[in-house]
């Protein structure tokens, strides 16, 4: 069941991205940035966690989950240290995606060259 919903929810988020590409003619950078901010807002109003419960990787794999995990990190610190925690929390927040992309990016630059 979770597999089916991961497929459907993940697919729908991608369709939203495709509509931003084709209808609003946004560049990939604009589209992805908007989706990350959207994810952050959804987590801010408490809707993203239930979506993860429901769709699993369908909600954690799309780029929207970056926004979600960043807000989560900030909020966790905030619960311990109040408003200052948001500021300090944001510096402690890391997303696995960013670290992984940078690490594998450097490795790729060592191993591969563009095919053209």
């Amino acid at each position: 069941m979770i597999f089916l919903w991961a497929f459907i929810v993940g697919g729908i988020i991608c369709v939203i991205g495709q509509i931003m590409f084709d209808v609003f003619k946004l560049t990939p950078a604009h589209t992805l940035t908007s989706l990350v901010v959207l994810g952050a807002i959804l987590d801010g109003v408490g809707l993203y966690e239930p979506l993860i419960d429901f769709a699993g990787a369908g909600a954690t794999v799309p780029i929207t989950s970056f926004g979600n995990s960043l807000v989560h990190g900030a909020m966790e610190e905030a619960q311990q240290h109040g408003i200052i925690g948001v500021l300090t929390g944001i510096f402690e927040v890391t997303s696995a995606g960013i670290s992984a992309a940078i690490v594998f990016g450097v490795i790729a630059a060592i191993i591969f060259k563009p095919k053209g």
């Binding site: 069941m1 979770i2 919903w5 239930p50 429901f54 995990s69």
Partner: protein
């Protein structure tokens, strides 16, 4: 391209079917007789949670002062998972006010709780010490954060 698409959809269907077919096996806890390993509280907890219309599967392990319950719910109710989880937690607190209780709906913990039950019924967990270890591990796993 159409051939690739067809292949993709086929694998997809197979994956979904495969993913749906692992139903849980029920372990019979009533066989456990040793007083140190008494699981009657777990049985009561399981009965309570099984009465919810959302639950599909409940597994529980307890010691004298600790109770660990992991349960799974119908997929369509997963949107309200947090709410159901806190309801379960409150109900169990009422039922066992003197116990330290941990409730989880995490797939991993459902899996682990089930294994712990099995080890009890198969008498692999046969001392108080072993049981304490089991439950501590479950508590630790449940508190791990991403």
């Amino acid at each position: 391209m159409t051939r690739t698409l067809r292949l993709l959809s086929l694998t997809l269907i197979l994956l979904v079917l495969f993913g749906c077919s692992n139903s849980g096996t029920k372990a019979d806890l009533q066989n456990v007789s040793n007083r140190d390993l008494d699981q009657s509280d777990s049985i009561r907890a399981k009965e309570t949670l099984s009465s919810y219309k959302e639950t599909t599967e409940v597994h529980a392990v307890n010691t004298k002062d600790k109770l660990f319950v992991a349960f799974d719910i119908l997929h369509r109710n997963r949107f309200n998972m947090e709410e159901i989880e806190s309801r379960a937690r409150n109900d169990l607190k009422e039922l066992f006010p003197n116990k330290k209780i941990e409730v989880s709906t995490d797939q991993k913990l459902v899996l682990e709780a089930q294994k712990a039950e099995e080890r009890l019924t198969q008498k692999k967990t046969d001392s108080k010490h072993n049981l304490d270890n089991e439950i501590d591990n479950l508590f630790k796993l449940a508190h791990k954060k991403a």
